[in-house]
């Protein structure tokens, strides 16, 4: 079974040289720590940065330089700054090759819910609806089940949707799955996790074809 860092590490394997990547808040943010050697990728922050670097050294924080999670960050050489309208022009226009974001629920048709629990949590969708409606390549990073042990991979989302039929791949603490017309197609098992464990943790349709390899981290 993977921890959050493991999920991020596995997703980092999806990166390709020259890609522009938008990482959501939470587990997705950790992906930046595992960029494979020799790959050049640029991270976009939807508040208006391309080429985000690591956190600043202590004492060098700049209130005017934050990421979409409101954390102080730095810029790498080749970075650029732009306004929110331009930032979402990039996103909506399909110029970002990979979007990684968290989710409360994912349905086996690619629907995603991650912005609202009616009557309870109403923080807003931020940039998530623009991201999921626009990107070609959307990977969800999340735990397979919620705190009460219920599956977050469903036949149908119960929460208000963020986007429809948009998720391409899901990476959880248990498995890597692709969204196919037949449902979640199991691609890889997390280390030490059996196909049966994944089955029982997945409420949505799960497609299992042939031997399912274990992830190589």
């Amino acid at each position: 079974m993977l921890d959050k860092k493991g999920i991020a590490q596995r997703i980092a394997q999806e990166l390709q040289d020259g890609w522009y990547v938008n990482l959501g808040i939470g587990i997705p943010t950790l992906v930046a720590n595992y960029v494979p050697e020799g790959l050049s990728v640029e991270f976009q922050s939807e508040n208006g940065i391309l080429g985000m670097g690591p956190f600043p050294y202590e004492g060098e924080e700049d209130a005017d330089m934050i990421n979409a999670g409101k954390q102080t960050v730095t810029l790498l050489p080749g970075a650029s700054i732009f306004d929110s309208a331009t930032s979402f022009a990039m996103i909506r226009g399909g110029h970002i090759q990979l979007t990684v974001l968290g989710a409360m629920e994912v349905a086996d048709n690619g629907d995603i819910a991650n912005w609202k629990i009616p009557g309870k949590m109403v923080k807003g969708m931020g940039g998530a609806m623009d991201l999921v409606a626009s990107a070609e390549n959307i990977i969800v990073a999340m735990m397979h089940t919620n705190k009460r042990g219920q599956s977050k991979l469903l036949r149908q989302c119960s929460l208000p949707l963020t986007g429809v039929k948009c998720v391409k791949r899901v990476v959880t603490n248990l498995a890597v799955m692709d969204i196919t017309p037949q449902g979640f197609k199991l691609i890889e098992r997390a280390p030490g996790v059996s196909v049966d464990e994944i089955k029982s943790a997945t409420e949505g349709r799960l497609v299992i074809e042939g031997d399912i390899p274990e992830m190589q981290l």
Partner: protein, 234 residues
């Protein structure tokens, strides 16, 4: 061409109860601190505020929420403010949540004279309810309309009396699009410079979009998430 006013109090003259304001910033970054303070002081109320976020409890738009000056917020993310959430859940505050990219575009389009446009963002969600759907290249889009404001209030780094503005770092965010959208746009800046000092090739907001400008004071520039790394390992 002299758009200089003395201070925030003079800049917000004419803002009345019940008006619609746009306020730049992302979180607490790049927010018009001086004008927000002046609005709080003057107690103008019943406001509709268009702003990506709603500040925190004791800073940014949180200051206006505390004093119940805001009737309605149009935002994309409001997660950092307990008082906001309380007012919203209790129904005291009307809230219209808008996808962040649509919010930025709806400001830009208002400034650009485009009253409506199609975007894929929000299709199939609550956001699309009641909106026209149309397919382009086989993909569903919804029709979004431009957002207008009686006043737009933005914060820049430097500016001149023509209203030309330059922003610093990610404090740019929503400010340029909102500057375009106000019937009257107020800019507060950290430094007023002489016309000609800003390189014409590198002006972010041309002065034509700005009606009033002043040099703000005592910027706090609060950091919400101070994240750092240690210098021990180089």
């Amino acid at each position: 061409m002299n758009k200089l006013v003395k201070n925030a109090a003079e800049a917000i003259e004419g803002i009345q109860d019940g008006m619609t304001l746009m306020l730049g910033g992302f979180g607490l970054c790049g927010i018009p601190e001086n004008c927000i303070a002046a609005l709080a002081e003057q107690g103008i109320s019943g406001l509709t505020c268009i702003s990506n976020n709603a500040g925190v409890d004791d800073f940014g738009l949180g200051l206006l929420l505390q004093k119940r000056q805001i009737r309605k917020m149009i935002s994309s993310y409001v997660g950092e403010n307990a008082e906001f959430e309380r007012q919203m859940l209790s129904g005291e505050l009307e809230v219209d949540l808008v996808p962040q990219g649509s919010l930025a575009a709806r400001c830009y389009m208002a400034g650009a004279g485009v009253p409506a446009f199609f975007t894929p963002a929000g299709y199939g969600t609550e956001v699309a309810e009641g909106k026209e759907v149309r397919y382009f290249n086989g993909k569903p889009h919804i029709l979004e309309t431009a957002l207008e404001a009686d006043f737009a209030i933005v914060k820049a780094w430097k500016g001149d009396r023509f209203g030309n503005l330059v922003y610093k770092g990610s404090a740019r965010n929503f400010n340029p699009a909102m500057a375009m959208a106000g019937k009257i746009t107020i800019a507060e800046v950290e430094e007023i410079v002489e016309p000609g000092e800003l390189d014409p090739n590198f002006i972010h907001t041309p002065g034509v979009f700005v009606q009033r400008i002043f040099e703000g004071t005592n910027y706090e520039k609060r950091i919400e998430q101070r994240t750092v790394r240690q210098k021990t390992q180089s």
